[in-house]
């Protein structure tokens, strides 16, 4: 039986892992390559690297780090951040990324997902959506969660999947950093709308939050988190043992 995946997310800026609370107040936690090796040997099923660098110098450092990670870590690696063209896909895929996630790039350029899916296959194209409730409706936000695009999120995610995205990362801005659990209602809405894997992101604060996620939202394929793993508040081994105990299929 296919297992539910546990995915640590590493936000990388200027060669270091950082994690903000509600996307603000970044602080350093560790070296990306070392952290990736650590997670891989401690049971992570996959890793997500987000490049949150703005400068071209930083982008070069990021691809160097990516290459070094792919030389040492042999689990699937999804890369996102600053992906706005198929050239960006090529840049990170050639450094060892397996999947590429697009966010603002897909909002700005509607042909990006279909073009990338045609070139690299749908399994390689991940739509990463930052979503927040606005006046009772789910809206897609752009530019790292700063700009409300006014686009209704569930329909938009479904259109991205129809256009060729093979996986969805749903990041709830409402629950991100709050550590009170994943956004179950938002996840149910998205899982009900697409038939590709959905990765839940935003809100995990403790082991029980993952158990609740997989029990309440059977369509969720994976749980993603950052700071609770980076700061050792939840160990992946303990988390997976608890999932196993709760009869949630998990790779141990």
């Amino acid at each position: 039986m296919i297992t539910k995946r546990i995915i640590p997310c590493l936000d990388v800026k200027d060669g270091r892992v950082v994690k903000g609370v509600n996307f603000k107040g970044l602080n350093d936690v560790n070296s990306p390559v070392e952290l990736a090796k650590y997670y891989s040997s401690n049971g992570a099923d996959e890793l997500v690297f987000y490049d949150i660098t703005a400068s071209s110098d930083g982008r070069k450092i990021f691809t160097d780090i990516l290459r070094e990670t792919a030389r040492n870590v042999f689990i699937p690696l999804t890369v996102g951040g600053g992906i706005s063209s198929v050239n960006d896909f090529e840049r990170v895929l050639s450094c060892g990324a397996d999947k590429v996630s697009v966010n603002t790039g897909a909002i700005m350029n509607p042909s990006l997902i279909p073009e990338a899916a045609k070139l690299y296959g749908s399994q390689c194209v991940v739509i990463s959506a930052d979503v927040k409730r606005v006046d009772g409706e789910f809206h897609v936000f752009a530019r790292g969660g700063r700009d409300d695009t006014g686009i209704e999120a569930v329909g938009w995610i479904r259109r991205c999947v129809d256009a060729g995205a093979g996986e969805v990362v749903l990041n709830s801005i409402d629950t991100d950093g709050v550590k009170q659990g994943f956004d179950i209602d938002m996840l149910k809405a998205v899982c009900g709308a697409v038939n590709v894997p959905v990765i839940a992101s935003g809100g995990a604060g403790k082991i029980d939050d993952f158990i609740t996620l997989f029990r309440e939202v059977p369509g969720a394929d994976a749980g993603l988190a950052a700071s609770i793993f980076h700061f050792g508040e939840v160990s992946i081994a303990d988390l997976k043992a608890a999932m196993n105990e709760a009869n949630i299929p998990v790779r141990i």
């Binding site: 995946r5 891989s40 030389r71 040492n72 042999f74 296959g121 749908s122 390689c124 894997p197």
Partner: protein, 204 residues
């Protein structure tokens, strides 16, 4: 030396890295001479069957690969590279494969229950059906990483392991010196490295 066949399909950086991590010398090559010189050959691949079969053939690598196979050299196909070892595929049409293992490649949607997501993407368990040298140090139930919408359908004597995704799907195959894995050993952590290490140890 291990030759990783480069016919313009997919990214070979991780595969080459995984082989160097287990102490093997690997070259990513599109030169038929390297296939002749190599001790073993790995045929990788992602994407669509028809396009890949066409690229493999037009690169001039299909014929030398088939002749090395007939010479008894160990060959490992990974993911789409495994599917190419079969007689035929029905992915977006009907295409001929290398015919090194009798069988065909068809959509998993034909055999799995409705409602399951396609592709199968993630870690699933191996269930052994026939012994294979690539599993010398791998235990029953080990998890490996799959990404696929199509699977091989072939006589059971060639299947060395299955995986269950609503139905038993072919996870790996062997026909003498020809080996194939549907999953990605280069993305399956230590379990995958062990499988690659065992392939590097099988006798020609």
């Amino acid at each position: 030396m291990i030759a990783i066949v480069n016919y313009g399909v997919g990214n070979l950086f991780s595969l080459a890295s995984s082989l160097s991590a287990i102490g093997q010398t690997a070259v990513v090559t599109s030169n038929p001479d390297d296939l002749a010189k190599a001790d073993r050959i790995i045929l990788p691949g992602v994407g669509a069957f028809g396009d890949a079969a066409q690229k493999l053939s037009s690169s001039g690598l299909a014929k030398p690969l088939i002749s090395e196979a007939h010479n008894g050299k160990p060959i490992l196909g990974i993911c789409l590279g495994m599917q190419l070892l079969f007689t035929k595929s029905y992915e977006f049409g009907e295409f001929d494969g290398l015919n090194l293992i009798p069988g065909e490649v068809r959509p998993i949607r034909d055999v799995i229950p409705g409602g399951l997501k396609i592709p199968q993407m993630g870690w699933n368990a191996l269930h052994f059906t026939n012994p294979s040298g690539i599993y010398a140090t791998t235990h029953e139930g080990e998890y490996v990483y799959f990404v696929h919408s199509y699977a091989a359908f072939c006589p059971p004597e060639y299947i060395t392991a299955t995986t269950n995704y609503g139905a038993d799907l072919t996870a790996s195959v062997q026909n003498g010196n020809i080996y194939g894995v549907q999953y990605h050993p280069e993305k399956s952590g230590n379990a995958g490295l062990e499988i690659l290490r065992s392939f590097c140890g099988v006798k020609a």
